[in-house]
């Protein structure tokens, strides 16, 4: 909460150094100004963007500036960003995509290294002032300075590993030199960012000061009155190769657990880099260039970079002109309603939550408190978050909310009753949203006076973990409502996938054939562990059998039955034993027993099981691709990119594969069609290829001709 007076004054808080520019502004992204005591302030403010990134042009300008300073060295140089978003988000990833060969990448990188090395070797004292995000290439610039001064709220890290890369602008050498190399490696291997306190503790920053003391801290640093954060004893102990090799063994196994090296080569490349060159800066810097260029050309990195841009595209959908939602009223405090309400409160919205059963509302409060604890919120943050979730035993929130979200059981009559009450009492401008996963919105909007205000907001379980929300439209929905719903997903840090109200929308429609096929395999006597292992080998976060248990067998069964009823695509009937399990209440993880036995939230699995038949992964995967193709053909979702984004962010579909359609693209439509036909001949017409494959083939060939 910030009032208008503080807001007006806040702009004064940032220390921008001397106001007088030294030169007429000849640089687009940097400004140079000479201050007191021979300290020069270089402010980083990349043109026409809200956040700084390190691009070729940024580095070229920096080089020219460093050359100028070399000729007339100041006593000290301060580098800081004047963007509200922080110091710098990292390298300009867009430029990576244009690099076509390993050599081209290496050459470009070597040039960039020269600039940063030059900063590192400056004859005067250099100080980086860090606020907000200081990531990747941004952190590498800061590491090349003599001092780093952080402002509270700063977040530092190397997220490169999430793009299938490791730091490439000298970070591998400079961070392992600066701080305990084991801590440095952990940071780079996990891609985690650390807040200012932790960064200070690790020695990544020399001092943390409030913005109002930045100028004094800079002066102290330049005067030599700040002790540089020392590199620990560990660094010296690990200066021999055998000593490092002892450490890397464990590092390797830990990394492999999180990211199998056959799919994710970056961690291994990083470990090797340090193992071979740790302590020898020059050699490590040289080797880093080659290793980075190599990684950049891998499919994994290319796909992960693409996923990064998919995410940006989806985030872009949330930036609309629509009025923000300040207050959301949730009707229904079941598992989904409770978690959606909690997540909205967590993300700063005012929330009222109503349910006929007050105990459920109370349980939702406890779940939110748990979330705050899991996310290490301070007691004050937790208090504010919990204060934003009002248990609304009287259902009074309807009248005041900007968005009324219905999350009651999947029964048309119950939902329509909720709408009837809501519509009569809602603000005229408010959105009515449903979290339904199985009822067509055409049915739900049937009795509304203004059907145009109903939109689907289909969240995934668990809400706090799954970034996707399907924003479901129907024939009568107002586009303004859809836009505002999309903006709302952005407000709560979720990614929207706009879909139409076809059965199962996109995600469930695509995922279900995969789960159903796993059930058929179980029926054939293939072990659950075998099936799951094959899917995990492909790169899925969990196998389909375990996933079915996590989702809940009851839900899987009802979604499968709904799709079988409503789609023309053939789907095998559920095995009798599955229906029996559901009837007996063995629903999976939530009841402790399903297809697996669950203990402490983990499935108990046999480690030694038979090998899977050769066609296992095709049988699991191709029906997914087939359903995805059908959704595109039916225009349930607009583009292959969005379909891939939805499956990755909604189900965790192996991200390094780039999503189902990227994977299909790699195979080629013709090959997929043939593979499906072969499976159809062997196993039945549920594998019949969607007509979309053939259309795509002919479309592509006509484009080429």
């Amino acid at each position: 909460m910030t009032g208008h007076i503080l807001q007006a004054l806040s702009a004064r808080e940032m220390e921008r150094g001397p106001s007088q520019q030294t030169d007429s502004p000849q640089w687009k992204h940097w400004k140079l100004a000479e201050g007191e005591q021979g300290i020069v302030w270089l402010t980083f403010d990349k043109q026409d963007t809200s956040a700084n990134v390190v691009s070729t042009e940024v580095l070229e300008e920096l080089e020219a500036i460093l050359e100028k300073l070399h000729l007339q060295p100041p006593k000290g140089l301060v580098i800081r960003s004047t963007k509200a978003s922080g110091f710098c988000l990292g390298a300009d990833i867009g430029e990576f995509r244009k690099l076509e060969s390993r050599d081209e990448a290496a050459e470009k990188l070597a040039r960039a290294h020269e600039v940063v090395n030059r900063l590192d070797n400056a004859s005067y004292t250099t100080v980086a002032v860090i606020h907000g995000a200081c990531l990747g290439g941004g952190l590498e610039l800061a590491l090349a300075c003599n001092y780093r001064i952080a402002v509270p709220g700063a977040k530092l890290g190397f997220p490169e590993v999430k793009l299938g890369l490791h730091p490439g602008l000298g970070g591998t050498a400079r961070l392992t030199r600066l701080i305990d190399p084991m801590e440095a490696m952990t940071l780079m291997l996990t891609g985690k960012t650390v807040p200012h306190q932790k960064a200070e503790k690790l020695g990544m920053v020399d001092q943390v000061v409030e913005e109002r003391h930045v100028a004094s801290a800079v002066a102290a640093a330049v005067a030599g009155d700040i002790d540089p954060a020392g590199h620990g004893l560990r660094g010296r102990v690990l200066s021999t190769r055998p000593a490092r090799q002892l450490e890397t063994r464990q590092m390797r196994s830990k990394a492999a657990e999180k990211a199998p090296p056959e799919h994710y080569p970056a961690p291994e490349a990083l470990i090797r880099l340090w193992e071979e060159h740790g302590g020898d800066d020059e050699a490590m810097l040289r080797a880093e260039v080659d290793s980075f260029a190599e990684l950049l050309m891998t499919d994994t990195s290319r796909n992960l970079v693409r996923v990064f841009f998919l995410q940006e595209t989806m985030k872009g959908l949330t930036r609309t002109e629509a009025e923000p939602v300040n207050h959301i009223h949730v009707v229904g405090a079941g598992e989904m309603g409770a978690d959606i309400a909690g997540w909205c409160a967590y993300n700063g919205l005012s929330v009222t939550l109503f349910d006929m059963e007050p105990e459920k509302v109370a349980a939702a409060v406890a779940k939110l408190a748990d979330l705050c604890n899991r996310k290490h919120r301070t007691p004050a943050q937790r208090r504010d978050i919990l204060d934003r979730l009002t248990p609304d035993f009287g259902n009074h929130g309807i009248e005041h909310a900007d968005l009324v979200l219905e999350a009651v059981p999947e029964k048309v009559e119950i939902k329509q009753k909720v709408y009837e009450e809501a519509e009569a009492r809602m603000k005229d401008s408010a959105i009515l949203a449903t979290n339904t996963s199985s009822i067509p919105l055409e049915t739900l909007r049937d009795k509304l006076k203004d059907p145009g205000r109903l939109v689907g907001l289909h969240f995934f379980n668990p809400v706090a973990m799954m970034p996707l929300v399907e924003v479901v439209s129907h024939d009568k929905v107002k586009q303004a409502i859809v836009k505002r719903a999309m903006a709302f997903t952005g407000q709560i840090d979720r990614l929207p996938a706009p879909v139409t109200t076809a059965p199962g929308f996109l995600v469930n429609r695509v995922l279900t054939p995969y789960l159903v096929e796993a059930m058929v395999m179980l029926d054939e006597g293939i072990a659950a562990e075998t099936i799951d292992r094959e899917a995990e080998k492909f790169g899925m976060p969990v196998g389909p059998v375990e996933l079915a248990d996590q989702v809940g067998l009851d839900i899987c069964l009802s979604v499968a039955n709904m799709l079988r009823d409503r789609l023309d695509t053939p789907m095998p009937p559920p095995p009798a034993w599955l229906e029996e399990k559901v009837e007996n209440g063995d629903l999976g993880k939530k009841t402790g027993k399903g297809l697996y036995h669950w203990k402490k939230g983990k499935a108990e699995k046999e480690s030694k099981v038979a090998d899977a038949p050769d066609d296992t992964i095709d049988r699991l995967l191709l029906p997914m691709l087939n359903a995805c193709r059908a959704c595109l053909r039916e225009q349930v979702i607009e583009s292959e990119d969005l379909a891939d984004g939805a499956m990755i962010f909604g189900t965790g579909f192996a991200p390094f594969r780039g999503g189902p359609m990227a994977y299909a693209r790699k195979w080629g439509s013709a090959d997929i069609r043939q593979a499906l036909e072969a499976l159809a001949n062997r196993y039945g017409d549920r594998f019949g290829p969607d007509p979309g494959w053939a259309e795509d083939e002919s479309g592509r060939s006509s484009e080429q001709s």
């Binding site: 909460m1 408190a369 009074h396 929130g397």
Partner: protein
């Protein structure tokens, strides 16, 4: 100013003490938390937590924009160090905006009524149009305090400068000094009279010849009346369930004992003046946590936001007398109102007298009917008479519900308003005795 004049002439005039005409002040709505008995350890809610628990839904159901209020006034006696001005902390946590002036009032057991009275006067005099006024208290959070000797010792220890100094300090340590005291016990002892509150009730029991049996009978009826009100749903609008961060749902006042009986209560030992005293835990108010808010509005605010007020404040009064007989305070403050309004005791439809102690309430009733008391207090031999017990605390009181000291004054006005409306009655007076020898009274009229 013609518009104002028109308005004043079109509505019935309220009169202040000096007989000048003033603006009408409406009670729009109110809500409280369930009152939760202190069970020997800090309860689930701090004072401001409690205020937020009932404040959020109250603001929500009235739907006036939260930042449209002019100010927030909150009564609270035992303020905890992390919430030094609980009114302001509550206002901010309730999302009423950074520009919301908020202050805390403290007059012991009258604090929750003091907030209403202060709000009443701000609005009446034209300074404000819309005020959220409440009371909150978490007696279970009353801090443990160290003896003065222990604090002195700590100060010396912290300023010790050499190992020798430390050694001398440590040898001077006496564990007995560090036995913490619960500040609440100190707080409930009158520093002038040197008596605990319970002892002041013993004084009244003796002066007005209240028997142990009469006090116990009164206590049983308090429990029975509250239990009935809760069962009948008469409190549904007034009490809003509270939810602790661990997901526990607190739906009801948990001190009520519907199965209480005179026989059971007879078995309890006197707590304040054993072994011969008459005041027991069973016929005293309970030590309890709870909060209550009411929304007060001017005519302008009522029109502007389309509010449907439930009552109007007619009059209020504060009185004081010797701390030793603080429990008689209500007789003074309520009588002053009656005199001003030209009413007799039983002209008032319903009464709420806060049940600090059963014996104390009964002593008030006796005092009203006591010529000697009347002569001393009012200079007349003709007492006001006997208050019909069917008009008094019709749905029970603090003996059953509990007495979160900063809250009770607010609760009795809130409940009086709701009870008058439920029964289709008009006028009511709520009044409480106040530790230290004071009392407050407020007269309202249901709309």
């Amino acid at each position: 100013m013609t518009a104002t004049k028109e308005k004043e002439s079109s509505t019935p005039k309220a009169t202040n003490k000096r007989g000048t005409s003033a603006r009408r002040v409406y009670l729009v709505d109110g809500a409280r938390t369930p009152f939760l008995k202190a069970r020997g350890r800090p309860g689930p809610f701090s004072p401001v937590d409690l205020a937020v628990q009932c404040g959020r839904p109250l603001l929500m159901r009235q739907g006036i924009p939260a930042d449209a209020y002019d100010q927030v006034i909150l009564g609270c006696v035992n303020v905890i160090p992390t919430e030094m001005n609980p009114a302001r902390v509550a206002a901010l946590r309730l999302g009423m905006g950074e520009a919301m002036p908020a202050f805390t009032v403290q007059i012991n057991c009258g604090s929750g009524m003091q907030s209403l009275d202060t709000a009443y006067k701000y609005i009446r005099e034209g300074g404000s149009d819309l005020i959220l006024a409440g009371g909150t208290e978490a007696l279970s959070h009353a801090p443990m305090v160290l003896s003065r000797d222990a604090v002195e010792w700590l100060a010396d220890f912290n300023s010790a400068s050499s190992p020798g100094d430390y050694a001398r300090q440590v040898t001077g340590f006496s564990p007995g000094d560090f036995k913490p005291e619960i500040s609440l016990e100190q707080g409930l002892t009158d520093p002038i009279a040197g008596l605990s509150m319970g002892q002041t009730a013993e004084v009244l029991a003796q002066q007005f010849n209240i028997s142990r049996k009469a006090a116990d009978e009164y206590a049983v009826s308090s429990h029975q009346r509250l239990a009935r009100a809760a069962d009948e749903g008469w409190l549904d609008d007034e009490v809003i369930p509270a939810v602790a961060p661990d997901g526990t749902l607190y739906k009801y006042d948990d001190g009520v004992r519907p199965d209480s009986s005179v026989e059971k209560l007879a078995g309890l030992k006197p707590v304040f003046e054993p072994p011969h005293g008459k005041v027991t835990a069973g016929n005293s108010s309970q030590v309890t946590d709870g909060a209550s808010w009411m929304i007060l509005a001017s005519e302008e605010a009522v029109k502007k936001y389309g509010l449907e007020p439930k009552a109007v404040i007619v009059d209020s009064e504060w009185s004081a007398l010797d701390p030793k007989i603080m429990g008689l305070g209500p007789v003074l403050s309520a009588s002053a109102i009656l005199r001003r309004q030209g009413s007799g005791l039983n002209d008032i439809d319903l009464w709420e007298i806060n049940e600090a102690f059963a014996a104390q309430v009964l002593a008030c009733l006796e005092a009203w009917d006591d010529p000697e008391f009347s002569r001393a207090a009012f200079g007349t031999d003709k007492p006001l008479g006997r208050l019909d017990p069917e008009r008094l605390n019709v749905d029970g009181g603090a003996v059953a519900i509990g007495h979160p000291v900063g809250t009770s004054g607010n609760r009795i006005v809130l409940h009086l308003m709701n009870a008058l409306r439920r029964k289709g009655l008009k006028q009511g007076i709520a009044t409480e005795c106040i530790g230290g020898g004071q009392s407050g009274a407020m007269m309202i009229e249901a709309l």
